[in-house]
């Protein structure tokens, strides 16, 4: 596992991007998930949706080229690709809640054996609110949680049961951490892949969640 944080986060984002299939419609959460857009493999064309009303997000504009009426759900200026379209929030959330988003990639404060996701309230800190995260986690066909395994306070974010307030119950399908890739199955968590230089014990020693390993990793 890469030692510095940026490299570990890049590994997570790059690995998450490998989950995308040609033609997927994708919603990215704020923070680490947003960086996934920069790692989409060549030959794969995905379309990014943002819940503030755009399908077909492009890269950040060059300085001076910002359009005051064109931001993404994170509040950053964006561009659009050819074939994009705009719509209001009601239409945006119909698309999300109605199952028309193929993949959502969301950050996590905690994620657990049942695929529960907690990503909106940090105890003792300011409540930022709910935003579109609950709808995205509930509505997207496939939900990928991306997070560093360990929180900055040294606790593990992969837990048997979330103790933080949930964003959505049982909606996470895949968890990508800097220690490896873990699938949420009806039979529990299955480690599909370990990050480079990570041993199974590195993972099992840090989380209290029950893990199975798909094969000798």
């Amino acid at each position: 596992m890469a030692a510095d944080r940026d490299s570990r986060r890049d590994w997570i984002a790059r690995r998450a991007a490998m989950e995308l299939r040609d033609g997927d419609v994708v919603n990215l959460g704020i923070g680490l998930p947003t960086t996934v857009a920069g790692f989409v493999p060549p030959g794969i064309r995905v379309v990014f949706q943002s819940e503030n009303g755009v399908l077909g997000l492009g890269p950040r504009p060059a300085p001076g080229d910002e359009d005051a009426d064109l931001i993404d759900a994170g509040g950053g200026y964006v561009t659009v690709v050819p074939g994009a379209c705009f719509f209001d929030s009601a239409a945006a959330f119909n698309m999300i809640r109605g199952g028309h988003i193929d993949v959502a990639i969301l950050g996590a404060l905690q994620v657990d054996e049942l695929g529960n996701l907690a990503n909106y309230i940090i105890p003792g800190k300011r409540v930022p609110g709910i935003g579109g995260g609950m709808d995205v986690a509930t509505g997207a066909r496939r939900v990928i949680g991306v997070t560093e395994l360990m929180a900055s306070d040294g606790t593990c974010k992969l837990v048997p049961r979330c103790t933080l307030p949930l964003t959505a119950a049982g909606e996470v399908n895949l968890i990508i951490t800097d220690y490896g890739v873990i699938e949420v199955t009806p039979e529990g968590l299955v480690v599909q892949e370990l990050a480079p230089d990570v041993q199974p014990e590195d993972l099992t020693s840090r989380t209290a969640a029950r893990l199975r390993f798909i094969r000798k990793l």
Binding site: D24, V47, N94, M95
Partner: protein
């Protein structure tokens, strides 16, 4: 649609994807905004029985009524059947199971399905025959009927122009049930006058985003 481009095919190829016993939504209001090329192809193919979700049956010799006359429809949710008397005859003969729905309720039931909602709470139909057998829900002291979402296997819709991805624009009252039906089927087939290159539609004016459209079929002007 989840590919880069919508599939472009003939009406005959497209309607061949509809299987017996499937539920099909078809857009249009008194034949305006109906996908006539697709309907005519479905009549030619003769797939039966199918279930329909439509706002009206058009006429016996034009639009959805042709499917009724051709005895392809076993069941339908529909709002108005007056211009297609054959419907009434097949209802009376017990050959078709017809559920009449207020038009504003019908469009919301379709929307609810496409939008991932559990149903519609509407005052329309309270105190009428429409309320029979349906739950009533009190909200802040007012009563509403709970009407369930309506979903289809295939939606046959009509639009004016498409880009190759499947983004759609409409013209005048051609819209009616089409944009909503596009969202509420597993497979959406759109009949359009013209297909343009990606980027040739103004992103401000796309009314059906391409995620809802799988197949594009050219419109045959009759």
């Amino acid at each position: 649609m989840s590919g880069q481009y919508a599939h472009i095919m003939t009406a005959d190829e497209a309607v061949a994807l509809i299987e017996p016993e499937q539920t099909v939504m078809i857009g249009g209001f008194v034949t305006v905004g109906s996908p006539h090329t697709l309907i005519d192809a479905l009549v030619r193919r003769g797939t039966r029985p199918i279930r329909l979700i439509v706002t009206d049956n058009g006429f016996e010799d034009r639009g959805i009524g042709r499917l009724i006359v051709n005895r392809q429809v076993s069941q339908e949710f529909v709002s108005h059947i007056g211009l297609c008397p054959e419907t009434g005859r097949q209802m009376a003969a017990g050959e078709m199971d017809v559920t009449l729905v207020p038009q504003g309720t019908l469009i919301e039931q379709i929307r609810a399905s496409g939008a991932g909602l559990g149903g519609v709470l509407t005052p329309t139909g309270l105190g009428t025959a429409v309320e029979q057998g349906k739950p009533k829900i009190q909200v802040d002291g007012r009563e509403y009927l709970l009407e369930k979402p309506l979903r289809a296997d295939v939606a046959l819709i009509r639009a004016y122009r498409a880009d190759r991805q499947g983004n759609l624009v409409y013209r005048r009252v051609m819209r009616n049930f089409n944009p909503t039906m596009a969202t509420a089927a597993r497979l959406t087939i759109a009949e359009v006058d013209e297909v343009v290159e990606v980027g040739d539609l103004d992103p401000e004016h796309v009314e059906t985003p391409f995620v809802y459209v799988d197949i594009l079929v050219g419109c045959v002007i009759r």
